[in-house]
Symmetry: C2
Subunit: 280 residues, 2 copies
């Protein structure tokens, strides 16, 4: 596995791979890799000759009161995991390398961000779209792999690919979970023991809502009310719980077609998100 | 010369060229080609195996009170000129093809747009950057060629290439002029006979200002005052006349180093721009 820290070197590697007729699969991450990330790398390996994994904690997608400073980092562990699973190139640029100066322009997302995390994290998806656009231009992959846990992120990035005619495909991979159902997340390390024990409540509640819908409940508010009653048992604080059409992310009072049930929940030191996509 | 109207076909052509190891030069235009455009195409031909010219009047870069509807168009003439000069591919998409739906996100330019045309045309460079980003992704050129007449546009696009790490180079080509000095522009057809006769005043005034500076005048305001006095003889209306550092586009009262003298001037049915770059 090659570790590359500069954009120029990354470009060189990709040019060589391209000239050799190899395809490139790309997994952009913020590091602190868990099995969710590893499943993306495996999916990329299955389909591509060269797999590039990037590790970059992107300041642009953190709000002023968010957890940029204390976002968990452990490069040596990440390096070991990435190598072990068969990553070809680990792209690990510094903030200075990615943003040598204040960006003179950014991508400003106007659609699909007035709901979910876009609503509670203003500017977040501008930062995500901007850095992913940069990474796509640097790595020039045939396909890029993202986890379904970040459902709104996938929707925004798919919109970006289509809006700017980017010459690549997005692959959405299923959320990987702990045995008790908690979605794998780098931020799970910030849960206290008690919170960690309680946290599967999120996915249980999503499953409960999904069951209500599958058994015929068509009224959005009635599903949400019953789900909220369950979440009230938690010791954290609800950020949002909602049901939207998927992937268009519109609100409809009567549930039908493809929908997403999505939740964001604050514990003391971590904000967790999870979702469940189904046919109503 | 191939005429291509869809993004999918354009991609196919480029993939073929790439596989054959050919380089691609790109000249994006809004059509109504004049010798300025043709000089860009010639410059592209000198350096590249395949030359792509696009013709697309981009609605996104026109303000609500601007001349989108009556921007001059003559595809048959453009086709003839482009073919005659040796264009390989003419990319001529419809608005529907480029914008099948409202853009869910755009590029928002924050640097270098508080002056010149950015100031008098709010949102203009967001529209320019957005469409050029799309075109770059579709055509995937090695180099793209732009005319120096649109100096601020070149600055914004060079910033975009660097900010988003686009894998291509921008080539700036000298402004092509009529024999009497008027910068070639598609909008010149909208000048009345009298305005056309008078319009070389813009370039004469730029030259006059440049001479003042070359002969030792270091005070920005004194140069501008004398230039404005000349422009007062015109029958149109001044939009802006300014001197800025180049390419950084900052205002400094004392002139030194690379600078741009830039003018925008309204006639009845056309707003003309021109500039002069020199060492102070």
């Amino acid at each position: 596995m090659k570790i590359i820290e500069t954009i120029a070197q990354m470009r060189q590697e990709i040019t060589i791979a391209r000239k050799a007729g190899q395809t490139v699969g790309f997994v952009p991450t913020m590091g602190y890799l868990h099995e969710g990330h590893l499943s993306l790398i495996e999916a990329a390996k299955e389909k591509h000759d060269v797999v590039v994994v990037s590790i970059f904690v992107n300041p642009l997608q953190f709000g002023p009161n968010e957890d940029l400073e204390r976002y968990p980092r452990d490069f040596e562990r990440d390096e070991r995991l990435a190598k072990h699973i068969g990553t070809d190139i680990l792209f690990y640029p510094t903030v200075q390398e990615m943003y040598p100066e204040t960006m003179p322009m950014t991508i400003h997302v106007t659609k699909g961000v007035e709901v979910l995390c876009g609503e509670s994290r203003p500017g977040h998806f501008d930062g995500v779209a901007t850095v992913v656009m940069k990474l796509f231009q640097i790595v020039q992959p045939d396909e890029a792999f993202f986890g379904q846990k970040d459902a709104q992120q996938i929707a925004v990035i798919m919109n970006m690919v289509s809006a700017f005619n980017l010459p690549l495909q997005i692959v959405a991979c299923p959320t990987v979970r702990e045995e008790d159902g908690l979605a794998k997340s780098s931020r799970n390390v910030y849960l206290s023991d008690q919170e960690r024990q309680e946290a599967p409540l999120l996915y249980e509640t999503l499953q409960f809502g999904a069951e209500l819908i599958k058994s015929g409940e068509k009224k959005r508010d009635r599903v949400l009310d019953q789900m909220k009653a369950r979440l009230d048992n938690g010791t954290g604080r609800l950020d949002y719980l909602t049901i939207l059409s998927y992937p268009s992310l519109n609100e409809t009072q009567t549930l039908h077609g493809a929908i997403i049930i999505a939740v964001a929940y604050f514990y003391q030191n971590a904000r967790l998100i999870d979702n469940y996509i189904l046919e109503a």
